[in-house]
Amino acid sequence: MNEAVTKSKAVDIKEAIPGAVLSEENGALIVAPDKLVEFGRYLKDNAGYDYLSSVTGVDYLTYPGRDSSNRFEVVYHLYSIERGGGPLVLKVRLPEENPEVPSLVPVWPGANFQEREIWDLYGVRFTGHPNLRRILLWEGFNGHPMRKDWHEAYYEADHKPFKSRTPEGHPIHAEERVPWHDNIVLPEGWDPDQWQEPVHVVPLPPTKGHVREGIQTERVVVNVGPQHPSTHGVFRMIMELDGETIVAMEPEMGYLHRNHEKIGERNTWIMNIPFTDRLDYINSMTNNLGYVLAVEKLMGMEVPERAEYLRVIMSELTRILNHFVAIGFLFNDLGAFYTPMLYGLEERELILDLFEMASGSRMMCNYMRFGGVARDVPEEFIPFARKLVNERLPRVIDEINRYLTKNEIFLYRARGVGVLPRETAIAYSASGPVLRASGVKYDVRRAEPYSIYDRFDFDVVTEEGGDVYSRYMVRLREIMESRKILSQALDQIPEGPIITGKKKYSFRPPMGDAYARIEAPKGELGYYVVSDKTNNPYRYHVRAPSFINLTSLEPMLVGYKVADSVVVLGSVDIVLGEVDR
């Protein structure tokens, strides 16, 4: 039904702004760059596409049928919060020479970081962007690494398997190949000694110190991080303070950047599955699931019933696990030093035991395969999971409710702090518990059901407050909802095969692109893959929920006290492996 709605709308949409839509290709609208902002505004205000989920860059340099006049492509995935359903895909094609596209930040502020990422990795300039700096790489980086013609120092080959790793039969180590001193090429005219890091990264009106009650005050810039126990990894918040109040904030990231997507393009399709484990290393199962769904969409694969159930069971266990960890670390940030976190980790251990039983590894599961799962679960899995889900978890959640939810210190510090209003949350492309805590009833499992989620009875949890407390409550209540799904799935799971056909390590999906998204515990996790009918993905993009949720960190923080920044960051629940990729 949803598909039909988007279809019929798409017909009207195409004529709405004259000259905006150039053509339609495989369900995607090719938009003229100069009409993009106007068209975007129309879609947002009049057609109900209010949620810009993903912005992706693609370099079609070596793709068959493309030439230098349309080498770059920027792909936008728009959704409607109210209607749900599939995406409206916009594509903007740009020439090789001086690729420029107007920025969509004035319409959807959520495009901010994603456009900066494309500028950083592809060198596509977004005119009108308020702060077009590199985001993942440092300013002294030479070139744009995701371009197909960019090669790193000591470049090996475009695709694995590499021949150069073991010359003469003796493996050599990266350290021997890449000595520290001569793998750096600086951009022309860029002198590291002269360069000064911009301290005032957020464009601010120039201020003088002002007098308050007879005391001369001035604005101070404070760095939290990159090495700070409360930033959950190597992450930095640059905050400008007026007294104790935050007046501007800008996150700095990329310290863990390893160009996951370039690695992904060199891997074969199947090699990427263990690499997705390392994105959000707390939730490897859902990372696997998103990726295999995207490739299955590309190949038109069916998944056997039992495998679908196993996927749902693993995903929901992952959600429970993630929320326990998130709640635990939130309290750690609040100063409840490690006790609530260890209580959360205790439950996580048992879920990890289940993962280990099924996949062989506790964290890096590598469990999903195209068309099914890697292996069947052992006999003791289902009884163990039942006991955990039906007996232990209700008790544990009840206990958490008793000692954390109504704890007065927590209430004082979490209520009304870091408020993200509903409209801002949607405009800033927040997703997952952050979005739902702002009162938006949007869950991919219900809005665009994947796998077999349409069969289960569960509620989409929302809270109205939009503050730290609401985000905590959403997570806690989502554990209960996941428990509901799990007990249904564990009762209904049928016997049968766990994978379609024979497992293949080498295959060529048909030409084209596919985007699959799932409701990962941290938010909407999307994978955009492009195939050129070879063994390797032509393009492999991750719409990382932690990364995009950080866009809304600024509106959450500005106006609150500096001591709240740590708590608010904890309530967004980020994992730096996924933010930096």
Partner: protein
Amino acid sequence: MFGSGIIRGLSITFKHLVETYVDDLKAVPSRYKYGRELIKQEPDEKGFFTIQYPEEKRKLPEAFRYFPMLLYDDETGEERCTACGICANVCPAQCIWIERAKDPKTGKPKPKPQAFYIDTSLCMSCGLCAEFCPFDSIKMDKDYERASYGRWEDLLLDKERLLKPVSYYAQISPTQYRAEEEARAAKKKK
């Protein structure tokens, strides 16, 4: 009442402390029933659960995987590997290197590995090599105590260090081994 939250929190912490001992008292010999090296946590235990590694160890599930190993036949001493190279092709970290053996007389390549290296300093323990090996030759070992002083030379495993007898595999992964042997026998009959 002001301060009641703190008291409630402390009482729960205290309850956890007591439950840890109650769990042990309830079931004598409790968690040591399979020996100190095979400890398993059950979901109905309420207290804290600690394992005093390295004196005590967890009971590993059968699926547990660490680094790969190569299997050879117990009786004949012949390795199962045919040097087909699928594992090296599927390896995401590109840490496997195989050299095909040559017949010493004719100089023709024969289906056996002359050299087989796995660089476990690169290995990401994903298990894809074992999953796609068509000859059941490469399997995942469960020996996780691999810390060593030599960062490169001790972690680069050659054929001698990789080879393990089939009986060892049958011992660490009995169910999987049985299923695979059945499949192999059925294949041979055909």
